[in-house]
Amino acid sequence: MIVAPEHLVIAPVVLPLVAGALLLFFDDRERLLKATVSILTTVALLAISVVLLLTAHADGEAGAGRIAVYLLGNWPPPFAIVLVLDRLSAMMLVLAAALAIPALVFAIGRWQKAGPHFHTLFLLLLMGLNGAFLTGDLFNLFVFFEVMLAASYGLALHGSGTQRVRAGMHYIAINLAASLLFLIGVSLIYGVTGTLNMADLILRIPAVPAESRMMLEAGAAILGVAFLIKAGMWPLSFWLPTMYMAAPAPVAAIFAIMSKVGVYVILRLSLLFSAAGMPEGPSSFGWQLLFLGGVATIAFGAIGVLASQALGRLAGYSVLVSSGTLLAAIGLSQTGVTAGALFYLVSSTLAISAFFLLVELVERGQDAIANVLAVTQEAFGEGEDDEEMEPEVGVTIPGTLAVLGISFGLCGVLLAGLPPLPGFLAKFAMLSAMFNPQGLGEGGAIGSASWWLAALLILSGLSALIAMSRAGIRTFWAPVDAVVPRVLLIEIVPVGALLAMTLALTVQAGPVMRFMEATAEGLHQPWSYVEKVMEQPRATGREGMR
């Protein structure tokens, strides 16, 4: 197995920062140069992330994995900031880079011309994402969150326009308020425990005196609200569909992972805290809140998917369904379900990202208002029934539309969770873990929560299927005099690449699922993580320069 040199851990943060800053020196007219540099950077990022993933997974399937700790200031661990690489963070790094490349390639077609500094902002967003995945320090997490958000504000407004600015204003206001909650939560936790290091926190929480316990719990709750706003849990999610719909397509494609950052932090922190006995037992308030919130989000998202008239909004609500599924699965707090949820995280993020790119291509050919009218007509039964329909014999579907239609169908299959694509496999993994809490065929009591979630998972798939087939028929089959959208090859290839990645997930489902199980195992038993971080020796003298 490949073992990465120790300084590689910080490369996912430094590389996009340097490349992004470098691009500021060039005029925006040098588009080819800028696009080349940023795509090369993301390709390098992908390569580094894959190496890091192999490093983290080095011990094979059984072991705890290799946890790499990078001491930024070379202080002994409870002090100063550490970066920690484990299976989960490595997986998120790979996912971020895998989304970034298609989004950037797509942007070459037209979006990079829509406004200044597209590539710099994009790379800084990646830097914030990667930093948030790697850091092992609560306040450092805040800083990387802000880097990511600041870049996302710029990207969300990229291309300007009334709708975008209006949605962007709400997005910024909500996120600024959420950041303040984040700060309050972090400082409360610091005030009680006297540390910001996540691993050290776990060691100190059991020693917190009973009278300060309340403060600590309040701090954790406020911190949780900040992340739930980012993850889009109902009722904190009304900003999300409008915002994602208004954002430019390649930006929306990378935003698909931004809501997952909130989920990632919640997954990591809730399991770390529970190891320290903070939500006591699986039926305590915190887990229940996550579960119920997730269930409510799935329901809200599924209804939204059914009610959406524009494709972009449909995609936005799919993000909510995906977030809700993850939160509810985390709320069940079972290792097997978490493993399935991680698989679902990867597959649904890829699917939604591809869908956002595709929506923009499809909608190029048509009028958005005509779309809304079509749905209204369907609902009220005032179709064109009385019109004399010419018998169409052998209507030829233009090549572009055929490719778009096939991709659209694949997205629908992915979002609805039908076989053979990984949307199905992920849901199946979650359901099977829910109904076999003691392991396959071992029996064990199935809680009512599992039944609820299983029913909702299947119903949300059905709603996605209905909405997607309705939208697909209306877009690709119904219009007789369809205007074929002008689509560049460079814009359809990224969609294909994202879909091919999901296909690869199906083909390699066995190894991927084993990796997810090992990851979930490590998350539910975080003591090796804590030990590794706390016992990381300082690099000394020449040895440190190795």
Partner: protein, 115 residues
């Protein structure tokens, strides 16, 4: 001193939240600014103890009395939070002006409510 600080944070937060919920964009941004002041003071108060005249960095070699020095971590946190808060507020101000120009109104929804 605790009482003064607590009252100050309370007043700032209260006014901030009220302004944040107002319909005009300018009120929202002032509300956010007030809230961020409140949060910065709050972080300060979360240090080990509120002290005046205590040094955050102890001289090398001197005898260290943990009761006589101020916690430096909240100060570093506040400094970071101020810088980030300032930058994002400035960015929000630009968006606010753009929205005013594009929609022709300073209502947060981009259109006046129907009366």
């Amino acid at each position: 001193m605790e009482l003064v600080l607590a009252l100050g944070i309370g007043v700032l937060t209260g006014s901030g939240v009220w302004l944040l919920l107002r319909p005009r964009t300018y009120q929202v941004i002032i509300g956010l600014a007030l809230l961020s002041y409140a949060v910065n003071l709050f972080i300060f108060s979360m240090g080990r103890q509120l002290k005046v005249g205590a040094a955050p960095v102890v001289a090398a070699g001197a005898e260290i009395d943990p009761l006589a020095f101020a916690d430096p971590v909240p100060q570093a946190l506040v400094l970071t939070a101020i810088v980030i808060g300032f930058a994002t507020t400035a960015l929000f101000l630009v968006v606010l002006l753009a929205a005013r120009g594009l929609t022709g109104t300073d209502h947060v929804d981009g259109r006046e409510p129907e009366r």
